[in-house]
């Protein structure tokens, strides 16, 4: 072992956090996912005490179906937040894209898959347009997408025409949110996820050891694997005891995992983080900052369209309210609640899923308790405010401890 390797190994050992440090990291938001999971447990306990249907298999399955749209839109929002920008148009884009799909499928008799592809392309094109305007003219993304919010809502009304609502009956579209798989398929699904995760961990670990990077954290890898396996098995068991694993959940998970891979493991994702952290440094490192920005807004538009398609599928219809109401704010609030920073450069795609779970649980629980939407909105607003405050405090603490 060379001196360099010895030094690295030593550093690796030093890097193992103490208990106190772990607590500090949870408080400061580095381990915000742990914080959110604790929050979810608290929410679950509160609602379960009030109403014992909350943790029933049927309600948990409903919860998963309810969060699909918000979760998918949030995946795109996470990318925008990582840049330190905001996209206020995602709700309207999801509604418009769904309307495009509905009109093509119902009025023009297009093949379902072509109609869905057209909707997704529509979302991507809108995102690309907004991203280009934002980066070319250096207008705040807030303003560009606010204009988009209004314009695309108008476009939604225009596309839907006089009736203002279209019922979708093509089973290929409605199936997206209404197909449930048999128990066997559910377990195969679980086995594939667990196997793939285990393989990825093992390969990464062996490569690090082979390269002499001396990562001695085998135990933490095993803990992570066991945790994930337990969560997946529990989730599939619960879903199977009701109607089975829904296709919608698989779609949501596939996008979360895929986009998390892009964010954390690819050059493009690295550049997104770099631009969000320090755009000027990224530019001087030779990154095409504007291309990254346009790509990110295109992703946001695309994910919004996919979310819109799922929403239409679940409702069997597109109407003037599609993509409206509080969908936009919840899709942005979710990742922020779950720990993606509004200030850019910090976060993960998992927060789209976790945040949607938090928001979905609160909304679902309050529905079970038959609370009015007045109360629901106020509670959700309070949770969002709390999350943003935690984010801001974490940021201040990072700054005072010399970490900008």
């Amino acid at each position: 072992m060379s001196a360099a390797e010895a030094a690295t190994a030593e550093e690796t050992n030093e890097r193992r956090p103490t208990t106190g440090e772990t607590v500090r990291r949870i408080v400061q938001g580095d381990l915000s996912s742990v914080r959110v999971v604790l929050g979810l447990v608290v929410i679950a306990v509160i609602f379960q005490v009030q109403e014992d249907r909350f943790l029933s298999a049927e309600n948990l399955t409903n919860l998963m179906l309810q969060i699909t749209t918000i979760g998918l839109i949030s995946v795109g929002v996470v990318y925008v937040l990582l840049l330190g920008e905001i996209d206020l148009s995602v709700g309207a884009v999801s509604g418009l894209s769904a309307a495009v799909m509905a009109v093509l499928s119902v009025n023009h008799g297009w093949n379902a898959y072509l109609a869905i592809a057209a909707a997704v392309l529509c979302g991507a094109a809108i995102g690309c347009l907004q991203g280009s305007l934002f980066s070319r003219f250096v207008v705040p993304s807030f303003v560009v997408t606010l204009a988009g919010l209004l314009a695309w809502e108008g476009a939604l009304l225009q596309v839907l025409g006089k009736t203002g609502s279209l019922n979708i009956n093509d089973p290929k579209i409605t199936g997206l949110a209404n197909i449930f798989y048999s128990d066997t398929v559910g377990w195969i699904f679980a086995a594939v996820i667990i196997g793939a995760y285990g393989a990825a961990l093992a390969v990464g670990y062996r490569r690090r050891v082979a390269a002499g990077l001396g990562d001695t954290n085998a135990i933490s890898q095993i803990v992570r694997f066991v945790l994930l396996a337990a969560i997946v098995i529990a989730a599939v068991a619960i879903l199977n005891s009701d109607r089975g694993v829904p296709l919608a959940v698989m779609i949501l998970l596939a996008f979360v995992v895929g986009m998390e891979y892009v964010a954390k493991q690819t050059t493009f994702g690295r550049h997104v983080f770099a631009v969000g952290g320090n755009a000027e440094a990224a530019r001087r490192a030779g990154i095409h900052v504007n291309r990254v920005r346009i790509a990110v807004f295109t992703i946001a538009g695309t994910m919004a369209a996919i979310g819109g398609v799922m929403a239409a599928s679940r409702l069997f219809a597109v109407n003037q309210n599609s993509g409206g109401n509080e969908l936009l704010l919840l899709a942005i609030a979710g990742p922020v609640i779950a720990g993606t920073s509004l200030f850019g450069g910090r976060g993960s795609v998992w927060t789209a899923l976790l945040g949607a779970l938090v928001i979905g649980s609160i909304s679902n629980g309050m529905d079970l308790l038959s609370l009015s939407s007045a109360v629901k909105l106020m509670v959700t607003g309070g949770v969002l405010l709390l999350a943003v405050l935690v984010d801001a405090v974490a940021r201040q603490q990072r700054q005072t401890s010399g970490r900008v």
């Binding site: 690819t266 050059t267 030779g286 900008v404």
Partner: protein, 265 residues
């Protein structure tokens, strides 16, 4: 001064920003294995000169030659491809990324695989190379996976300098590398600059601090109001002479400049 043809040579370079003549027909040369201290008052054009070389601002007039060939540097990418690396005072690093990610920013290593977008970052390889490079430069960072924002000013500056070496440059430009550093950290960075020279690089150090300049530089190049105002061999001059050239007070600067020019022709 190093012998032979200069690595990088600027001739008659001018740059205007509206009514401001930031650079006025400046001639400037960097040789391999030498450290040049680029000094001057605020607004003298030091940063503009460095930015012209680094491709941030293209000069309005003048020619730039790299290894004897005339080149046009239109963007940071052009400069990097030629082998000119720049380390900026404060805009160099992304605080939210770790040391490895910062070092390889813009030139990430990816594993083999299909497609450009879907290829996985080769974190293991990058971390390995980072460890090698930093230990070669005798830079000590507690953990390569800690966010750069958590490092001290000296460590950050050393990471920024180390990063500039990854593209195997021939010329390294350092903008105020010791500004805002404490005494021991300044010493580390100056030590690092000496090691760059030992690697046969041409190094340009912009600094306000003449003591730091005299500690590492072979030559001192003075800019005043956008014009070359003197060029000194560090071992043959004194701080007073250089200060005279920077401020334009006292005739020391002028005389030395003439002396230098006489020596050249």
């Amino acid at each position: 001064m190093a012998d032979g043809a200069p690595l990088l040579e600027l001739e008659g370079v001018s740059k205007r920003f509206g009514p401001v003549q930031a650079l006025d027909r400046v001639d400037f040369a960097v040789h391999a294995r030498e450290v040049i201290g680029l000094v001057g008052d605020n607004g003298a054009g030091k940063s503009t000169l460095v930015k012209a070389i680094a491709g941030i601002h293209s000069p309005d007039e003048g020619t730039i030659r790299f290894e004897g060939e005339e080149v046009r540097i239109k963007g940071p990418q052009d400069a990097t491809e030629l082998g000119i690396a720049t380390v900026y005072q404060d805009l160099a690093l992304c605080d939210n990324l770790d040391v490895v990610a910062n070092l390889f920013l813009g030139r990430e290593q990816v594993s083999a695989g299909p497609g450009q977008v879907s290829r996985q970052l080769d974190e293991v390889k990058m971390e390995h190379e980072t460890a090698d490079l930093l230990s070669n430069l005798a830079v000590t960072i507690p953990s390569l996976r800690s966010e750069v924002g958590t490092l001290s000013g000296g460590q950050r500056q050393q990471v920024a300098v180390a990063r500039s070496l990854l593209g195997d440059p021939k010329v390294v430009l350092l903008d105020e590398p010791t500004a805002a550093l404490g005494v021991p950290q300044t010493k580390q960075v100056l030590e690092l600059i000496r090691r760059l020279r030992e690697r046969d690089l041409g190094v340009v150090v912009i600094s306000h601090n003449l003591a730091d300049v005299f500690a590492v530089a072979d030559r001192v190049f003075v800019l005043r109001l956008g014009r070359a105002a003197g060029e000194f061999k560090a071992e043959e001059t004194t701080e007073e002479h250089v200060v005279g050239a920077i401020t334009g007070l006292g005739d020391n600067g002028e005389r030395n400049q003439h002396g230098e020019e006489g020596e050249k022709s």
